[in-house]
């Protein structure tokens, strides 16, 4: 048992103790999206051949929840610890920068996986969704959650107040997830908007994750995985550099 294991266990316990808010609520929200959008748009939006819109929607919504919850976990935990001052207990301990980063990001991945499992467990009762390439789905789910968790950590390091964090969430994370092809196939968009979508890293996570279910995607899954992995490396490198510098953590 090292400081890393304890910090990881503490971060998992932290969200699990308030699981109504951190797990049940996001599952319910995603289910509401599913019911409303499926009812309103079934038959009106053209997606992949032979795939019903409601089925198409499920992996997209699961990935959206994965990204939002992974981000929320690390960012809110770190920001709250900074505001209340209890981050000092971690800073006083012999825990390295890499261990701190790893514990926060893995706890984010854990929350994202629990929310994803909860969503799949509830939706698969009434929506038929195939699982043609499960390893691809798992790879995109894990890398996407890790990337969002690392982004959350970055936002948590930079934020000193809850409203700064909320701004990051509302003006960066929300638009990127909503415009990532969760609710539509980008092939239905005009060429200009397709190009814009390709600049959004969240698009590759949603599209690749969906490939794991239907075996069809808008972009080659191998290339998407490479882009997601490269984004994860880049965000991790910036987060680790900031943590090591002590920026807004150690004066």
């Amino acid at each position: 048992m090292t400081g890393f294991h304890t910090l990881l266990a503490k971060e998992v316990l932290r969200f699990w103790k308030v699981s109504v808010q951190t797990v049940a609520a996001p599952v319910l929200t995603a289910l509401l999206y599913l019911v409303i959008f499926a009812q309103a748009l079934e038959g009106r939006v053209q997606v992949y051949d032979g795939v019903r819109y409601v089925s198409f929607l499920v992996p997209g919504l699961v990935m959206m929840s994965v990204l939002q919850n992974a981000f929320a976990n690390s960012s809110s935990s770190l920001t709250q610890s900074k505001i209340t001052g209890n981050i000092v207990f971690v800073l006083l301990a012999p825990i390295s920068t890499l261990e701190l980063f790893g514990a926060y990001v893995l706890a984010s991945v854990a929350r994202a996986l629990v929310v994803a499992a909860g969503m799949l467990a509830t939706t698969l009762w009434f929506v038929e969704v195939p699982l043609r390439a499960p390893l691809w789905a798992l790879a995109f789910g894990l890398l996407g959650a890790a990337l969002a968790g690392a982004l959350g950590l970055l936002a948590g390091v930079c934020s000193e107040k809850i409203d700064q964090l909320a701004a990051f969430q509302n003006f960066v994370i929300m638009p990127l997830t909503f415009l990532s092809g969760v609710f539509y196939s980008i092939h239905s968009l005009p060429p200009a908007w397709q190009a814009v979508s390709h600049a959004n890293p969240f698009f590759y996570m949603v599209d690749g994750f969906r490939y794991g279910f239907f075996g069809v995607s808008d972009f080659p899954p191998g290339a998407s995985l490479a882009i997601v992995a490269a984004s994860l490396l880049a965000v991790s490198a910036v987060s680790l550099w900031l943590l090591k510098s002590g920026y807004k953590l150690r004066t």
């Binding site: 090292t2 294991h5 304890t6 910090l7 006083l92 150690r250």
Partner: protein
């Protein structure tokens, strides 16, 4: 600033607000980075060999901070885990017993009073049995009962060989507990000596005599040996002594002289 605290000492860091006490402690604890220079804890550099330095150090922060998600016992188990210690319940129970926290073990941190939260902070600093304990204003806003209990426990730790570094605004606490004191002023050491020497060399004794007419005469003495000569001077001056008082050295006077601050201006 150049300062060495010896092993086993009960060392006091005193100074007015802004003197640099908490900054110094934060640098020692790794919470702040020094612009230049170095700090070692029992030979381990706090930046280069931070893992070992932090294991040797237990810090009680000044702010009353806590994690509202956990109970007292969970808090102490987590803190043990941060230092790589598992199965620490026997020591945790002992620390809680000494700090009168045993009855609150399963109470959420949010539900504790300020004094109780302060005790948990002390317990958190001790879970890994550090040989050096740093207490930053440990009794600020704490009731008399806890203060006495806390000092009894800290003195016991010191007798058991722990080095104690204390910052406080309560001069009588420093006078009572510390073997050696550094007075800081604007980030520099204004005085550094044993508590006794600081009191003796800077303050000395003061003889206060009241004559029959009510007039007060004050004479500074280096020690009690000068008392007879001082009384002779008063008699020679024709003072008919009605009341006499010998005031012992007082750290407050040392503090005021060296820092130029009245104690009333301190929080």
């Amino acid at each position: 600033m150049s300062l060495a605290v010896e092993e086993g000492e009960f060392f006091g860091l005193l100074g007015p607000n802004g003197a640099g006490k908490t900054t110094l402690i934060n640098v020692i604890a790794g919470l702040a980075r020094a612009d230049s220079g170095s700090v070692s804890v029992l030979g381990s550099d706090v930046a280069r060999d931070y893992r070992r330095a932090r294991r040797l150090l237990g810090v009680v922060p000044q702010e009353l901070v806590f994690d509202p998600f956990f109970t007292v016992r969970e808090t102490l188990r987590l803190q043990s885990g941060y230092f790589g210690i598992r199965g620490n319940d026997r020591w945790i129970d002992e620390v809680m017993h000494h700090l009168d926290l045993a009855s609150k073990a399963d109470v959420n941190m949010r539900a504790l009073s300020g004094g109780m939260k302060r005790r948990v902070l002390v317990a958190q600093a001790l879970v890994h049995k550090p040989p050096v304990i740093v207490l930053d204003e440990p009794t600020a806003g704490v009731d008399v009962e806890l203060r006495q209990g806390l000092w009894q426990f800290v003195r016991r730790l010191n007798r058991d060989g722990h080095t104690i570094v204390l910052t406080t605004h309560y001069l009588e606490e420093a006078e009572l507990h510390c073997n050696r004191i550094a007075l800081l002023k604007a980030g520099r050491v204004a005085a550094l000596d044993t508590t006794q020497n600081l009191l003796k060399t800077i303050s000395g004794l003061e003889l206060v005599a009241r004559g029959r007419d009510g007039e007060l005469s004050r004479i500074k003495l280096k020690d009690y040996a000068e008392l007879e000569a001082a009384l002779a001077r008063l008699r020679d001056a024709g003072v008919e002594i009605h009341e006499i008082e010998l005031q012992p050295p007082d750290l407050e006077e040392v503090f005021v002289r060296l820092t130029g601050k009245e104690r009333g201006r301190e929080p």
